[in-house]
Every structure is written in structure tokens, then in C-alpha cells.
Symmetry: C2
Subunit: 329 residues, 2 copies
């Protein structure tokens, strides 16, 4: 038997445990070229919220009764594929469950062995890849430029801050609360903005970047995007990665004085990590090197047990997590 989270109800207001249901799924016999993976770590990603209903959603809405998707790492416990013997550590997209029967093509072996496997759900996985390409290919930064990154204490943001420091940028990072701000200073941010501190984001960013910003890595939208436009130098580049301020709210972006986009010659580009898939090996080489050299710290927030998944999603949507939020099985 596998235990699998399913969608059970359209959310109304904050997510409830009953919006999901944990159900048994029988273990079918493996076919040729298939393996059974026992999951050990599960990823909780905000995009799942967008799939639960069609309110302000940009992701396809899942039918009720669907199995919830998400990244996972685990070990092969039964194998009918010669390339993935029992014991192989793999990364795959069948999370929100304790085990999964998968074709070999759906699994990616992970290594080296000394690397904690959950790292492949964080800085060595999709969030790291998002940070890497969203910063280096979308923004094409040059050493000495001023970068603002919002929601910087999250899985993507902590990688952006550290890659930016490695590349010689001046980093202004925002997050909510003094603990996160302290973390960002430890990770090398030059200036930290606490979004929960008094004052508007415009005021706080203007104070943090008195000569303006060259680059903005946006995870938030809303008042953060507005503040970045207000502080943008002529020709500033904006990388739009996420708009967590708008998830599940039927969000509308209200942007005062949109002529700023024209007059300041803003170059703004939305992106998603999969569009850079063809160059993933570049990311893997650099990031593995940085992690092994101790130049890339990977903070984690860990909840235990499959039952904690709905709370994990609530936590990541509230922004409670420092670094990557993970479920340990």
C-alpha cells in the first residue's frame, strides 16, 4: 500500500486539512523497466495552491480526487530496471505520498552519496535552478550592480542572495521578521529590509538603495514590485519569478504610475525554471561546486511525517519557513 494525498474539497479561505484526504493506493506489481521508490523527503511548493481552485489561478486546476503533485527524493526498494538497482537514491515528481511505482525515465539518480538527499529538493533542485537561471540568464548581472531580491529567506531567495554575492553584486534582500533578516545577513546580504517593520516598501527600499537599483528578482509582486520600480535606475532589469502576494486571492496587481515602465526603460521578463532545462548541466556543475566548497548554505525548515503536508503548504504560503520547507518521512 502507498499512502497518497488527494484533493478532497475546493478551499474556502485559508487551507484546511479537510481540503485534502490521505488515501491508500494499492501497490500494483511492477512492469519491466519500473521501480518502486520509498520516499524519504518531500517538497512543499507554493504553486500547488494555484492548482486547488481556479480563483486567480495560473496553473491548471486539478479535478477533485486528484493526487497532489510535488517533488520528492527517496530510495529504490524494488526494481525491474537494470540501471536503477535497489538502494539507488532518486529524485522524482511523485511527492505528497510515501511511495511510488515509477518508470525509470521518471527517476533521476542523485549524488554524490555524501550530499544530504533533501538538498536535491532545494538548492541542488528546482528552487536552486530557478535562482540560478533567473539571476544569471534573465538578469545578466555584472559585478558591482545593485540587486534587490524579495522574499529572500525562502528556498529560491536564499540561493539568489548567495549566487549574487559569489558574482560580486551588492545585494539588498527583503524578508518578513527579524529572524529571517538575521539569516539573510549571515548569508551575505549587504542590506536587509524587514517588510514587517514600520514604513512603506517604497520608503524602505529608497533608504536601502539611495542610488537606486540595477536589478530586481521578484518573488512577491504587489508593493515590492512597485517599490522596485520606484527605485529603478534607467534601463533596470526585472526578473519575475513569482508573485506570492497574489496566490489564491484572485490577485490583481495595482501599479501606480505605469509610465515609469516606459520612462525608466524597464526590461521585465517573466520566466519559469523549465525553460532553461537544456542548460541544466551548467547549473548542476556550478551549484554542486559551490555547495561542496561551503560557499552556498542551504537553510531548511523541516516538518515530520506525511500527515504534516497540508500544514506545510499553509506554512510556506504564510511565509513561515526559513529556507526550503521540507517534509521528512
Amino acid at each position: 500500500m502507498a499512502l497518497v494525498w488527494h484533493t478532497a474539497r475546493r478551499p474556502s479561505g485559508e487551507l484546511q486539512d479537510d481540503d485534502f484526504a490521505l488515501r491508500d493506493v494499492p501497490d500494483l506489481p511492477l512492469g519491466e523497466g519500473e521501480v518502486r521508490v520509498r520516499n524519504t523527503w518531500l517538497s512543499v511548493d507554493p504553486y500547488v495552491r494555484g492548482m486547488l481552485d481556479d480563483e486567480g489561478s495560473y496553473m491548471p486546476t486539478m479535478p477533485l480526487g486528484s493526487q497532489v503533485p510535488g517533488g520528492a527524493v527517496g530510495a529504490v526498494v524494488e526494481s525491474r530496471d537494470a540501471g536503477l538497482p535497489v538502494g539507488t537514491r532518486v529524485l522524482h515528481d511523485y511527492g505528497w505520498r510515501d511511495s511510488a511505482a515509477l518508470s525509470a525515465a521518471q527517476c533521476r539518480p542523485i549524488g554524490p552519496d555524501e550530499m544530504p538527499p533533501q538538498r536535491f529538493l532545494g538548492h541542488l533542485g528546482m528552487p536552486g535552478q530557478t535562482a540560478y537561471f533567473g539571476l544569471l540568464e534573465v538578469l545578466e548581472p555584472r559585478a558591482g550592480e545593485v540587486l534587490f531580491v524579495s522574499a529572500a529567506a525562502g528556498a529560491v531567495g536564499t540561493a539568489v542572495v548567495q549566487i549574487a554575492r559569489i558574482k560580486g553584486l551588492h545585494v539588498i534582500a527583503s524578508a518578513g521578521g527579524s529572524d529571517k533578516c538575521a539569516l539573510l545577513k549571515e548569508l551575505g546580504a549587504d542590506v536587509v529590509i524587514d517588510r514587517k517593520a514600520p514604513g512603506t516598501m517604497r520608503e524602505k527600499l529608497a533608504a536601502a538603495a539611495p542610488e537606486g537599483i540595477d536589478l530586481y528578482f521578484d518573488n512577491v509582486g504587489g508593493d515590492h514590485l512597485d517599490a522596485a520600480l520606484e527605485s529603478a535606475r534607467i534601463g533596470a532589469k526585472f526578473s519575475l519569478c513569482g508573485m506570492i502576494s497574489g496566490y489564491g486571492k484572485g490577485g490583481v496587481l495595482e501599479l501606480p504610475d505605469p509610465m515609469r515602465l516606459v520612462v525608466r526603460q524597464i526590461r521585465m521578463r517573466g520566466f519559469t525554471a523549465p525553460e532553461f532545462e537544456a542548460r541544466r548541466s551548467l547549473f548542476e556543475k556550478d551549484m554542486l561546486e559551490w555547495v561542496l566548497a561551503g560557499r552556498m548554505r542551504s537553510p531548511e525548515t523541516v516538518l515530520d511525517g506525511l500527515g504534516a503536508m497540508p500544514e506545510g503548504l499553509r506554512a510556506v504560503l504564510r511565509g513561515d519557513n526559513m529556507g526550503k520547507l521540507l517534509i521528512r518521512l
Copy 2:
């Protein structure tokens, strides 16, 4: 004496004639290297509205009593510069007046002689340069791509439509009213959208571009920008030239579902014509060739007399003009 329009009052609601004052300015003797130019044609540009007050303004606000700026063409009537003898036709930035004393460096001689001089305020001048670089350098179009251009019956838009056709694009053009739409068909637009016709812009653009758009040249903002995002293909490019929907209104852009920018990997870039000044000769060569070959028609709306300037500005802000709005002296 020169007659010069000055700012006289901060506007309240629609512009009034009394927001401006036409005043005499004494003719001072020319210095060495200076010329006196009698203006024959004046340009009326929407950006002037943004300089009249600080409400939703992106341009520096002019102090009350300032001389209003704007493009002009005229002829040298008195010269103390050997390079600009009497009779030379020149383009300069001292419009909203009947004559001006200028240094030679402030004047650009225009030709060939058979070309109507007012063309250098339109397709052979700043609006043409805006269309040329905003389409060809910002959007980098490829033949066969689908372009949407808004406010297409104006000075910039009529050039965008025709350059796009020369470059082999499929052109969807919007404007307000059946006369403008008929003009756009004559200029070569493949599909025309009347923004005043029943239905939302989203509906109308979706019907005009059932397979989506690759490129958007934005002169409007607001519901046109929203509709373009809704019809955008993955990786679509947006050139932000103007947001006439927001002039003088303390405008706020309301963009539903901003995650569209991310998920559709939109590349959006604000620009202003002066940033391409170094490559102006490219534009001049191509555009002059197209105009002389009859491939570029330049519709004009003409008002007579210096006294018509405030009404001209109101007209261009209301979008009454077909093609370039000009004042003939």
C-alpha cells in the same frame, strides 16, 4: 517680437485654454553662431500633458510661467551662422511659438527640399523614430509573427503598422471609431479592432488573434495591455511605448492575474526614442527610402494658427487625430 505659449495655471479636469497664456517675448539681437527661425509647423505631443502638473506625472513638472516645449520646423530668417544661411529649413525643439532665436547646434537642417517639412515632425521625426526602434530593436520581429499594436491610428501607430507590413508581420491594429479603422485597413493592417465597438478588449483581441500574439506594441496600457497579456503566446515580447490611458489621471495600472507575466514568460520592455539616438541614421535612411517609394503613407490632422495649440493638445489627448496632429502657422 515672438509669440510664445506659457503655462499659466495647473489644470483641473479637462485642459482649458486659460491653463496656458500666449505672451510676447522680445526679439533679442542674435549672437555669433545663432539664427532666428520662423516656425511654419508645430508638433503637439501628449507628453506635454504630463509636464503641466504632478498628478500621475512621469515627466518633470514645469513651473508656472514656463515656455511650453515641443518640436517645430521652420526656416532661418536671420543668421549669424555660416552653416545655416537664411532660407535653410530646420527642425528644432522650440515649438509652441511662432519664432525662436537658437544656436546652430539646436537646429537640424532637413531635406530633401521636395519633402513636405512637417513630415519631419511625423514619420521622418520623433514619432517615426519611436515606431522604428520600438518595433525593430525592442521587439526584434520575424516575418510571419503576429503583432498587436494599440492606438494604431496615431502618429506612432500609423508608422508601426506600415513598417510591420514591410517586414512581413501579420498586423492586428486597434483604434477608436470606424474612420480610424478604415484608415488602418488602407495602411495595410490585416485585422482591425475598434475599441469603441461592443465587447471587452479581451474578447475582441481573442477573436482577432485566435492563435494568440507574438508581439505587442503598447501605446495605451490599461485594458489593452491586459488583453495583450491574455492573448500572449509563451515568450511573447511587449514593447511599452506609451500609456495614453493613464495621462493626467494619476493613473494606476490594474493588471488581473499578474502571474501571467511569469507563466507566459513575457518579455516586456519600456523604451523611449532618445535611447536609440546613436543609431538614428539607420532610421533616417530606411524611412526616407520608404516614404519616397510610396510605401509609407503619412496621414495628418491639421489645425491652423498658433492659437489652436491648447485645442490641439486636448484633441491629441482625446485621440481625435488621425495620424500626426500638426499646427500650421
